[in-house]
């Protein structure tokens, strides 16, 4: 009720809840603008309503095509490789998803077509057709239709027809009209929904004054309730143009009889279109505009005008007695004597007494009990399939009438996962191994067992010794011993510190249990107390096993101290440990190539062709069509191979030859006398040593000194070294500088055994391995040459190397410098030095000169040696040539040594930079 009702308005009835009274100064809330009133569909997308007249659907962006950004063709793709193909668009392409759904305009689902649908739906149409046939200018044309038309009449209709049924009639025995109007028999019970009042007592026959007594009528074709579902998308109550109505006229502009209570209306609801008098042709319906056949357009939108209503009271309802009294209809049927007024009293204004008593709630009697029914319920005891109570179980089973002897028919809840798996015939899942022991190798397990046994025995011995005075407990049970041992273990664990060790990390619950267990173990609780940390859902046996497992894990943990475990971090992402990516094709069999090169048979023998995928962008930048437009591989295609597969290392074992050997054939010739045909990189050092046999001792001595100084930078180079797989060669190259190490080096197999199987080695291709061996030889040579000559800037290292190269023993300790790193870094062909010639020595370092001198000096020595050995080495020969060109300089440096050169260096012009560096 309205709160602001005044005294004079009291008798007004107001509906709904009143608005909140406006506060003083409060601004009226702005209504939400139309564009912000949003509705979302099931998927959360915004839906827009428009086309309200046609029950419209949303299309595009605010009734436009396209999206907010405008009209964009869907997924337009066109590239050099993939041209946009022309597609023929159908109407479906412009439809929304909703349109294609079940209730859309073009549903995609399978629906029953008219041919298969039951005829009940089409009764209206049938009726309309029938009526049309009657009303048509030539009556009976529909009969022809029926004859000509396909046999759409279902068998039911056909049968009914044969039984005398005619369309338009109801089904059932013919009845007299009168009984219909009689009061309903109170004894007849009507189930289901009560019919609307007045329906049974149709007032339509009131016009028919005369009704012969002996005439029976077919029952009315009544459609009591409009059960037709709303199938269209029109607004409620909207009717489109009905062609049958439009053509044959209907009571569209009929006088609307308000007072007949709609009894006829309800029966006419579905269109009981029987011809009535004075019917006009015309188009009705609530469509747009006025039909061409309609004479006037006064009723376009079915407006309710007062002219439709009675303006004059007249005796319309004889026998009513109300004479136009417009009270609810119920009042007119006062004649009913058996109406019971359950409620006697004032009826509130606006209310009326129910015309019919509310349907009596029928109480159904309970079903009659069977004769042998005993009203006692007892629960069947659940029997664990134990051994001692099998008799009882059997008895019970017999009593219940079913035998559950077959284990397969046991309740599925009683089965364990393993049993189920067995029944299903599935293979066991390879989950995480339940015990840490399974992660250990056989040997470790063995050892662990031994340790355990030993400690157990120790404990036992202790216990025995402790308990020997206590004679009562002399025969201590082994269980007791384990408890004691547990205690001991707990004590030991206390010292072990916090546990970062997570043996059951894969099973967090178990890990938690384990942690609790260990904690309590540390506190020195007994085994029984410990058991409460175990999973209570487990069976006793499982619990026992887990306890055992925890104990073992604890032992393991103790044995590996915390410092060790803290060094390892569990991998966040489980990587593919067993597989390693290996290039699919590999450059292999260097041996064959070596021989081919030696025989100068270049071509097929020395060539490897691989499929190589350039990056797409690279192709673009090079203006080249991508040779593999469909592949996403970049570089050489790789394959995953078993990491520990033998085949990955098969070629490793084959003896690799050094590069130098093949190329410098002369050296080889000289070496071939005392060397195996295939030299490895280790031989190279020998070769080098041989070359300067007399000085090798000194070199090694000096180098060992220099090496000590060089040691620190080595890891640095490794670290800052390549991010790729080439870290190893760097290290090897560094190592190679140390001839002493080389001499005492273990065989290669050992290295392989150590490094090849290590998990952190990324690529283990055989090719790489063999090349790695190859590489050091070259780099070694590079380093070897580094020792002979050096870059001008490299002051300290050049000094160092000079020492190593000269035979003099004058220089011993040398200053290290930051540029040693460079020395270690050298691989491959050296950069040529910048010589200092007399003309522009101001630009160059004095050292260059010295180096040159030293070189000359050396070549001289070598020449001497050459004379003795007849060893032809191109380099040396050339050097000799070189020397010959400047005999005047050579003569001065005949007897020079490094100390000499040092002094020389001081005298010659030094760049200020060099001086600073010193």
């Amino acid at each position: 009720a309205a709160e602001s009702s005044d005294s004079e308005e009291e008798d007004l009835v107001s509906y709904g809840s009143a608005l909140q009274p406006l506060q003083e100064g409060e601004r009226i809330k702005k209504p939400v603008p139309l564009q912000e009133q949003t509705v979302k569909d099931a998927k959360g997308r915004y839906q827009r309503f428009h086309g309200a007249f046609t029950g419209g659907f949303s299309a595009g962006y605010f009734n436009t095509v396209g999206t907010k950004e405008g009209w964009t063709p869907s997924a337009f793709v066109s590239s050099r490789q993939k041209r946009a193909d022309r597609t023929i668009l159908g109407p479906e392409d412009f439809m929304d998803e909703e349109d294609l759904s079940e209730f859309g305009i073009a549903p995609k689902d399978i629906t029953t077509t008219d041919d298969f649908a039951s005829k009940a739906k089409d009764r209206i149409k049938e009726k309309a057709r029938q009526i049309a046939g009657v009303v048509a200018p030539i009556p009976g044309t529909t009969a022809f239709d029926d004859l000509i038309g396909p046999s759409k009449i279902t068998i039911g209709v056909e049968l009914l027809r044969k039984m005398g049924w005619k369309e338009g009639q109801g089904i059932g025995p013919r009845v007299k009209r009168k009984p219909c109007r009689q009061k309903p028999d109170p004894t007849v019970k009507i189930y289901g929904c009560a019919l609307p009042p007045g329906l049974s007592e149709g007032s339509e026959d009131e016009e028919d004054e005369y009704q012969p007594e002996n005439v029976t009528f077919a029952p009315k074709d009544v459609m009591p309730v409009d059960l037709t579902p709303k199938e269209n998308v029109h607004g409620l109550g909207y009717k489109g143009l009905d062609p049958s109505q439009a053509l044959f006229g209907v009571s569209g502009r009929e006088h609307l009889n308000l007072f007949t209570g709609g009894s006829e209306e309800t029966s006419n609801l579905i269109g009981d279109l029987r011809p009535s008098k004075g019917r006009k042709l015309g188009i009705t319906g609530q469509a747009f505009g006025v039909g061409a056949l309609e004479e006037e357009d006064d009723d376009i939108y079915a407006t309710d005008t007062p002219s439709k209503y009675d303006t004059v009271l007249k005796d319309e309802e004889p026998g009513d007695g109300l004479y136009g009294w417009t009270a609810p209809k119920q009042y007119k049927s006062k004649k009913r004597p058996e109406r019971e007024f359950k409620y006697i009293g004032k009826v509130l204004a606006g209310f009326s007494l129910a015309s019919k008593p509310s349907a009596q709630i029928k109480i159904y009697p309970p079903p009659s009990l069977p004769r042998n029914y005993r009203p006692v319920h007892y629960f069947r005891p659940v029997i664990v399939a134990g051994n001692e109570n099998c008799h009882l179980q059997k008895a019970l089973e017999e009593s219940t009438g079913k035998l559950e002897s077959d284990p397969a028919h046991q309740s599925r809840h009683a089965l364990s996962a393993a049993q189920r798996r067995e029944q299903l015939g599935e293979a066991e899942l390879k989950g995480p191994a339940p015990s840490i022991m399974e992660y250990l190798s056989e040997k470790d397990r063995e050892r662990l067992k031994e340790v355990k046994q030993a400690s157990e025995q120790q404990m036992k011995a202790k216990i025995v010794s402790q308990q020997s005075p206590n004679s009562r407990f002399q025969s201590a049970s082994p269980e007791d011993a384990t408890h004691k041992w547990q205690m001991q273990l707990g004590r030991q664990l206390v010292n072990a510190g916090s546990s970062d060790f997570k043996p059951f990390a894969k099973n967090p619950e178990k890990q938690k249990r384990y942690e609790n267990f260990v904690k309590s173990l540390k506190q020195g609780e007994k085994g029984d107390a410990l058991e409460r940390f175990l999973d209570p859902n487990m069976t006793a046996w499982e619990r026992g096993r887990e306890q055992e497992e925890f104990f073992r894990a604890a032992i393991f943990y103790r044995s590996s101290n915390s410092t060790l475990s803290s060094r390892f971090i569990r991998a966040k992402y489980e990587d593919d440990v067993d597989k390693v990516e290996v290039p699919r094709d590999q450059e292999n069999d260097i041996d064959d190539k070596e021989t081919a090169v030696k025989m100068k048979m270049f071509g097929k023998l020395t060539r490897d062709n691989f499929e190589w995928h350039p990056d797409k962008l690279l192709c673009k930048r090079f203006n080249v069509r991508d040779p593999y437009p469909d592949s996403s591989v970049v570089g050489l295609p790789k394959v995953k191979r078993d990491k520990y597969s033998v085949f990955n290392f098969l070629t490793v074992t084959e003896p690799t030859t050094s590069v130098t050997q093949a190329t410098s054939e002369k050296i080889q010739e000289s070496n071939s006398l005392n060397k195996p045909k295939k030299s490895s990189r280790w031989d190279v050092s020998d070769k080098e040593q041989e070359k300067k046999d007399s000085i090798s001792e000194f070199i090694s001595l000096a180098r060992s000194k220099a090496d000590v100084q060089q040691q620190p930078p080595v890891p640095a180079t490794e670290e800052c070294g390549t991010g790729t797989t080439e870290t190893l060669p760097t290290a090897v190259a560094d190592e190679d500088k140390n001839p002493e190490e080389e001499s005492g080096r273990p065989p290669m197999d050992l290295f392989k055994a150590i490094f090849v199987s290590s998990s952190d080695e990324k690529s283990s291709s055989s090719e790489e391995e063999s090349d790695e061996e190859q590489q050091p030889t070259t780099s070694e040579r590079a380093s070897e040459t580094t020792k002979q000559v050096d870059v001008p800037d490299n002051s300290s290292s050049s000094i160092q190397e000079r020492v190593t190269a000269t035979t003099d023993s004058g220089v011993s300790s040398l200053p290290t410098s930051k540029q040693e790193l460079d020395v270690t870094e050298e691989f491959g062909p050296k950069l040529p030095p910048a010589f200092s010639s007399g003309r522009f020595c101001k630009h160059l370092d004095g050292k260059e000169k010295h180096r040159k001198i030293r070189e000359r000096h050396k070549t001289k020595k070598e020449r001497k040696r050459k004379k003795e050995k007849k060893k032809k080495h191109k380099k040396q020969k050339n050097k000799g040539k070189h020397k010959n060109k400047k005999p005047e300089k050579d003569s001065s440096s005949d007897t020079t040594d490094s100390s000499d050169s040092l002094s020389d260096m001081d005298t010659t012009g030094l760049s200020p930079k060099e001086l600073l560096r010193r």
């Binding site: 048979m601 270049f602 691989f610 190589w612 790729t724 040579r781 491959g828 062909p829 522009f840």
Partner: protein, 311 residues
Amino acid sequence: MAFPRPRPARPELPRQRVQTLQCGQGAVRAARFNADGNYCLTCGSDKTLKLWNPHKGTALRTYQGHGYEVLDAAGSFDNSQICSGGADKAVALWDVTTGQVVRKYRGHAGKVNCVQFNQEATVIVSGSIDSTVRCWDCRSRRPDPIQVLDEAKDGISSVKLSAHEILTGSVDGRVRRYDLRTGQLCSDYIGSPITSVCFSKDGQCVLAASLDSTLRLLDKDTGELLGEYTGHRSTTYRLDCVLNEQDTHVGCASEDGHVYFWDLVEGSLALSLPVGQGVVQSLAFHPRLPCLLVATQGQVTLWREDNFQPE
């Protein structure tokens, strides 16, 4: 009536020294002609890069910005940019006129031995002793290379590009040719560490210099050996090899201070050019003229044919 075509000029070899550039930047690690051969770049061990007009002998510009010695440089086709690589593991892209470093590409784990532009100067290809060849994008700002060619097992000593190929020479004794058009990698085994590779002008052959003091001319497609040239000395250093402008001769620097030229077909030694006493570090042949740029020690010399008359 058609004129008879002029007889092709007899190939001449540079025999006389016409210019000497005192670079004053320490050891000259590399001397390179620009695209048309009118200018040259010298890479110094004092971290500088210099642009010269070698024909006039004038220094035009000094580019400073490398953190260590500059080992190789190349100019773009339009002379607007220079790329260089150095021992500071970086590849730098320079603007010629401003002298500023436009970009620095870091990613190599070792010295960058060689750099090259592609034809349109959109990609810099650099080879390093870290055994990788990296292709850097000059167009976008991405800091990482477009592609890393890490097939080599040892340091890359030389990289050359053609329109659609990347030719690399590696210390592992292999010449690898990445063909972008066919999507193939051809790896030719030479055996000895490769110091320098180059394409012939007709793009059919590959010349490879290796540390066994041999130059080999290989057929690009089959990998067959077409010629072998020996006589020089190259056992230690990374020395350049060149083909002359008409593909008639091959040349190589030598450690004995000479530059050797061989007849390409016959393989006979055609010329031994005494340059100096030191190792000839770098060679560059003019793209069109019989004109040779030789870097030795701290200087660069320009050599022309005999009958050349300097203005």
